[in-house]
């Protein structure tokens, strides 16, 4: 019970800090925090698949990027209002997931990794290659932010908009992982054959998890398109997928708070290191190797180990 009260206190304090942030932080920090929130959602969406269902996807940027491009194409090419593009982007990401899932779910383990990777690179190659539609690697600028009667053009207002969207998405995610459906996903992660023997149509659960995961990644992707007012093929690239993966692992797969913290940390490190050197990709690679060797269960795992040792 005390741990539960403790977590509630921490959650309230964190929320208070997040709400108050623009009052005391510099504009640059508020923008960075906005990016952290977006990637926290992206990482949590991947964790629904990786940490809860036990399916390691190496191509999660596909859904993130499809949503971002949907926003850009609708706003820039079709002149749709930016706010309306948001649900369309979410739907596009979910549909992409719904189409890719049957292919990827034919396989498990390494094959699953490989297929999700290959599928995401196909999407990337379309964004990169179809210059007449997407401008190829030049990307698409002029993605205006939505206006719901109040402007989101200044940093603080967009921060609050992002906080609200990510907050709602997080509440829904928490509800999902704590529901009977979420429990079934964890059961599937632990033993597919046992779940089948208990009467679960494992494939259907994995499929729904895949599509949900893609949809939440889509929410993050659409936010990111607004955030940068720009989309480019790098949103879909393997490095984006890889960052999401390491955010989840670094924080601790199978929890929602872990990937959110991992995301914050990676976004911060990328920003910090990029201000010092051009070799962020090198550092990212080293983080991969170091985390896998020394903290395979992530920061949450380290904290738990520490607590257990303290308890003894």
């Amino acid at each position: 019970m005390t741990t539960r009260l403790g977590s509630i206190a921490v959650a309230v304090a964190a929320l208070g800090l997040l709400v108050a942030l623009p009052a005391f932080a510099r504009e640059y920090s508020v923008a960075l925090a906005t990016k952290m929130l977006i990637f926290a959602l992206f990482a949590m969406s991947l964790d629904l698949l990786l940490g809860y269902t036990g399916l390691a996807s190496l191509g999660h940027a596909a859904y993130f990027g499809v949503a971002a491009y949907t926003v850009a194409l609708l706003v820039v090419r079709a002149g749709v209002s930016s706010g309306l593009a948001f649900p369309a982007a979410l739907a596009a990401a979910a549909v992409t997931g719904a189409v890719f899932a049957p292919l990827a779910l034919r396989a498990r383990g390494s094959y699953f990794l490989m297929i999700t990777f290959a599928l995401s690179q196909v999407v990337w190659s379309v964004a990169f290659g179809w210059r007449t539609l997407t401008n190829g690697d030049d990307g698409m600028p002029d993605v205006v932010r939505p206006n719901f009667g109040f402007s989101l053009d200044n940093t603080a207002s967009f921060y609050y908009f992002t906080l609200a969207v990510v907050g709602v998405a997080t509440v829904v995610l928490v509800a999902i992982v704590r529901s009977p459906f979420g429990r079934a996903l964890r059961g599937i992660r632990e033993s597919e054959s046992r779940m089948q023997a208990l009467g679960f149509d494992v494939w259907r659960y994995q499929y729904v998890a895949f599509v949900l995961s893609a949809a939440f990644a889509g929410v993050a992707g659409a936010l990111y398109a607004y955030y940068n007012r720009f989309v480019g093929p790098e949103y879909l690239y393997v490095i984006q997928s890889a960052e999401a993966l390491i955010m989840v692992i670094l924080g601790g797969a199978g929890t929602l708070i872990g990937p959110a913290i991992g995301a914050g940390l990676i976004v911060f490190l990328e920003d910090f290191i990029s201000s010092l050197t051009q070799h962020w990709v090198l550092v990212l690679g080293v983080i991969y190797v170091v985390v896998t060797l020394f903290a395979p269960r992530g920061l949450i795992g380290l904290v738990n180990d520490f607590r257990r040792r303290g308890a003894k």
Binding site: A56, S110, A242, I246, I249, L282
Partner: protein, 283 residues
């Protein structure tokens, strides 16, 4: 006649893919490691070959140096970073992913961001006249090397004691151990050979495809498609898949340049639906 040219181009590219996919497939078959660093082995191998050729002027020396250096690199990665996660898929994949990024950035640092071409070796300059067309000797040389390696690997797997061990190990590591096979040494050896083959592909590709940042990721995707089509762990599958993907890609680039990858991706999707373990993979 143009379609003959396209097919020859496709086969030549297919042979490069085979060199990559054979290693990827053998490493997976024996150790169940999905080696993402394979793309780096290709690119770093190519760059090393380029540097050696610039210094010595010898294509043969470039080939040998690149293959040996990258094979050694592969052995080190297997020994010190992958061995400890034996049969634990996710950490192995993450480590190889990490090295893919590390080598990608290091080679950008060392060799810069511009595409670099290797010179075609003197004896293969020029083209074979074929009616109205002419076909470069170098690409015919690529096809020959691919066939030679395929034959060599087949001979190794079917006719040598080490090859028998390899097949036993692919079938069942426990059995291999019970037969008194030094599995640990075999793992390192296969990883090194796979890395060396990727480096060979990198050097050979240098005069045709050029070397540039991002090529590591690109060829990796192609190699993945090849093994998904052919089936992980199967040499025959790697060859069949590589030729299919090579030819499809060439036709795709010629006829649908904006959607080139689709022409290889669609058959992959079809095969996945019909046979998730690939054409020659185990069910």
């Amino acid at each position: 006649m143009t379609w003959v040219i396209h097919i020859l181009n496709g086969v030549a590219f297919g042979m490069l893919l085979f060199l990559l996919a054979a290693g990827l497939s053998l490493i997976y078959g024996l150790m169940k490691i999905l080696n993402l660093t394979h793309g780096s082995f290709y690119l770093v191998g190519g760059y090393i070959g380029l540097t050696v050729m610039q210094v010595t002027g010898s294509f043969v020396l470039a080939l040998i140096a690149a293959v040996l250096a990258v094979a050694l690199l592969g052995a080190v990665i297997e020994r010190f970073f992958l061995r400890r996660f034996h049969l634990d898929e996710l950490p192995q994949t993450l480590v190889t992913f990490g090295f893919l990024f590390i080598f990608s950035d290091l080679s950008l640092w060392i060799w810069g961001g511009n595409p670099l071409m290797l010179n075609v070796p003197h004896i293969f300059q020029g083209s074979l006249p074929m009616g109205y067309y002419a076909y470069p000797y170098y690409r015919l040389f690529l096809i020959a090397v691919g066939l030679l390696v395929a034959g060599g690997l087949w001979w190794f797997q079917e006719r040598t004691r080490l090859g028998t061990m390899l097949r036993a190990g692919v079938d069942d590591a426990e059995i291999a151990r019970a037969l008194g096979i030094n599995v640990s040494l075999l793992f390192t050896l296969v990883f090194a050979v796979g890395a060396g083959l990727a480096a060979l592909a990198g050097v050979l590709a240098g005069p045709v495809l050029s070397l540039y940042p991002g090529a590591d990721f690109e060829v990796l995707i192609f190699a993945f498609v090849v093994v998904v089509i052919g089936g992980l762990g199967s040499l025959r599958g790697a060859l069949a898949g590589a030729l299919l993907v090579g030819i499809l890609d060439d036709f795709g680039k010629a006829f649908f340049p904006q959607f080139a990858l689709f022409t290889v991706f669609v058959p992959m999707a079809v095969i996945l639906v019909m046979r998730p373990t690939g054409l020659f993979g185990r069910q």
